[in-house]
Amino acid sequence: MAVKEKVVSKEKIVSRDFKEYIRELNPDPGLDETIKGLSPEKIEKTIKSVLGGKSARIKAVLETCIHCGLCAEACQWYLSNDKDSTYAPVAKMRMTIWEMIKRDGKVDAEFIKQCARIVFTECNICHRCSMYCPYGLDVTFIIGLVRRICFLLGVVPQRQMDQDHAHAAMMNQVWLSQNDWLDTMQWQEEEVGAEFKNLRIPIDKEGAEVMWLPLGAEPKTGTYHIERTAKIMNVAGVDWTVPGKDVWDSSNMPMFIRDFVTMQRIVRGLFENAFRLRIKKLVLTE
């Protein structure tokens, strides 16, 4: 029997500003809906507030980059997209920040949407391009600035914005309440008890050597991680504890979309938990 091949061809769109930038249509309410409320004045003001009064780190990149394209081969996006030149790190700068500066911040909402797509969904801020750049320029810092502009304008992919909101409201990315968190820890302690005698998951143990801070997903969907960590800590004989109060989620999602306020709240919260219990070392998942 002949197997019928089902070819799903997605609609391709050519960018209005750059003929080379061709992508599949990828609807995202975080980008498509949010740009409707943007006015040119607001965009200009936001861009100038972030880029105006250029700091040394911005200047270093903009005034040194000689557009040689040697960073291209560093980028996993470039390599895994058949060396499409629009995925090169320097191309991402050209399509976002260079254009913003060239037009003195006078760009429209459609352009911001395109910028958001480039900086949020086509760059992982891994810094590999800085390893390949002969000058060691901090390209990812520039990408981060454009993310900051997009965040301030509210143009962020919905999934990432939701994680940010979860952090802002609950101090973890999975909407887990403090009750659930403590309950999960005690439940896991019971689970491990079947295999290990007298194994404890110490909550809020003052003066412990190590405080373990999981990722949000671990108590939510990957509880076996907690079980395994407890076993490892127990066998290794580590004097450890987990915080009984918020903040315990070490995955700082707001950092990725450059929401500095929430980002700082999380880091501060983690350290305050450590100070409160006089912890010597923090151990983070990942």
């Binding site: 200047k59 270093a60 040194t64 000058y135």
Partner: protein, 224 residues
């Protein structure tokens, strides 16, 4: 300078006042750019506390020597071209015999000179590498996409003094004196352009490498 006042011809202009202007702008402008850049960097809390001399030198050691970093090894043709281009660009004008004679005539100072044949070959290499870099700008898609008019202009600014110098030395194309005037003029344009265009990477290279070298050391990672 006196020659120009006595006899204000184009040759005496480019040979007299414009040389002074070019060197003052080049040296003063470069010092100003580097000084103000470092001052600006001091205002940023995330730069100066992390700069380390050891890792700066390590970073420079890996990137100033051909084939001493991963990307130099991965792109051998570009590595050879860019190193030959930059060595010729910087050292040929400084150690050229004719330039040395000019220094001696004006100020009575001399230093080492390159053999004339070698200087000629180095000039030719700079010209050929310029052509290579130009072709790369047109032909390589990742470079073409990010190339603007300013890039061609910068390439031309560094190419022109060498092309005219080469033609003047071999007395080709134009009358010798006209070509020399053009050569001096392009040389002065290049000197003036260095502090105020992206050619300033001549100095910023050391600063940005210092930052990234120290930064990667902080992350316990290599930067080559």
């Amino acid at each position: 300078m006196y020659d120009f006042i006595k006899d204000p011809t184009l040759y005496n202009l480019v040979r007299g006042p414009l040389v002074w202007i070019a060197f003052i702008v080049f040296i003063g402008g470069s010092i100003y750019r580097v000084y103000s850049f470092i001052n600006l960097a001091k205002k940023d809390k995330t730069i100066m506390p992390f700069i380390s001399l050891k890792y700066t030198l390590r970073s420079l050691y890996h990137w100033l020597i051909p084939f001493n970093s991963v990307n130099w090894r991965r792109r051998p043709v570009i590595t050879i071209a860019t190193f030959l281009f930059h060595i010729g660009l910087v050292f040929t004008p400084i150690f050229l015999l004719s330039h040395n004679i000019l220094w001696r005539e004006s100020w009575g100072i001399t230093w080492w000179t390159l053999p004339e044949e070698l200087a000629d070959i180095m000039t030719l290499i700079v010209i050929l590498c310029s052509v290579f870099l130009f072709l790369r700008r047109i032909l390589a898609p990742e470079v073409k996409f990010v190339t603007s008019n300013s890039d061609y202009l910068l390439l031309f600014i560094s190419f022109a003094p060498f092309m005219t110098g080469f033609l003047a030395y071999h007395q080709l194309l134009l009358v010798h004196k006209t070509m020399v005037i053009l050569h001096i003029l392009f040389g002065e344009i290049m000197l003036i352009a260095i502090p105020f265009t992206r050619l300033v990477h001549m100095f910023y290279f050391f600063l940005t490498r210092s930052f990234m070298g120290s930064q990667f050391a902080l992350w316990h990672s290599r930067d080559w």
